[in-house]
Symmetry: C2
Subunit: 216 residues, 2 copies
Amino acid sequence: MVIARRIPEATVSRLPLYLRVLGRAAVEGITTISSEVLAERAGVNAAQVRKDLSHLGSYGVRGVGYEVDYLVRQINRKLGLDEDRRIAIIGAGNLGQALASYGGFPERGFHVVAAFDSDPDKVGTSLAGTPVQGISSMVDVLREKRVEIAIITTPASSAQSVADAVVQAGVGSILNFAPATVAVPATVNVRHVDLGVELQVLSFYQQRVARPATPA
Amino acid sequence: MVIARRIPEATVSRLPLYLRVLGRAAVEGITTISSEVLAERAGVNAAQVRKDLSHLGSYGVRGVGYEVDYLVRQINRKLGLDEDRRIAIIGAGNLGQALASYGGFPERGFHVVAAFDSDPDKVGTSLAGTPVQGISSMVDVLREKRVEIAIITTPASSAQSVADAVVQAGVGSILNFAPATVAVPATVNVRHVDLGVELQVLSFYQQRVARPATPA
């Protein structure tokens, strides 16, 4: 067993943000970036950026900053994005459809290899090219396809039973979009996405906005 | 003009997470919570929680912690969640449909008052009860309905032109789900939601998961 150097959870959560900022910087032709600029674009402070990146063994060069390409590779490797991941989507409603057709997944190595729904009318249809299968075969198919990450996009009422089946199938990670908490063994990673969080953040800033006079 | 006490952006971003943790705690019948427990459940450290909450003027009681109900009210007020917000969804595809029917919005005071799509086949249909209108009438309708927050769920290629129209209509905040950066005047708040971020975080933890032997 490899003893991995421990990286704080909050740092792990910020790495994808740095990756996005660095990706945009690369598109702009920027080859080196200071912790200040990276911090400003990511919406955190520069000391935090330096501390986060030090967990990757990246310290930058004083007065120059970080080399963009190199840092992207380091973060990708640390996040395991240099490997392909097999994912399944459970719940073929609007959100499942939207995620299955989300362009950003395949380019980052996330491949939808299976899709499921409990609605007999949806079984046999396609989720962006992946056939939708019934729930009864789910545990077997998840095992057979060696799915690593399950995305739950079912109604809240089904989320726990789906999570139980996913865990039974040996899937290591769950991304839960259902508006319900799911309980899983400590060995399984769960992230909960609440689509309302960003609206709540915007609500804060909206309080300070005076609606401008209607422009001509 | 009211001079608001300045709260760091990172603190604002964490307040919805605390709100979610506190909401669950309340359901469990917990009436007071320590910064340690709140921190652990929110995935941050306790010193950060105390610092964040001090920006709200909340300091807790040594050895007791924070009163859950009171803290929820304070955060709600600070985030402006005690007021109703009029939102519009632009892009009536799968993601627009999923967001329009997302149960968590109305209960937090977010009301979808208008929906738009450029596809003539979608105009006249309904987005969870809100009629879908054409893009040509968008600026007028956004003004007339005094929309405060616009949610962009269009393809990347249309995001900037939609954002321009939204700004022209005087909308103060944009939540952008399109996989594209949009440029707006500094007076407009933009939050970008990348549905791939959480998958990237899971990818990190997935690296440490050994697939268990198939259970019997």
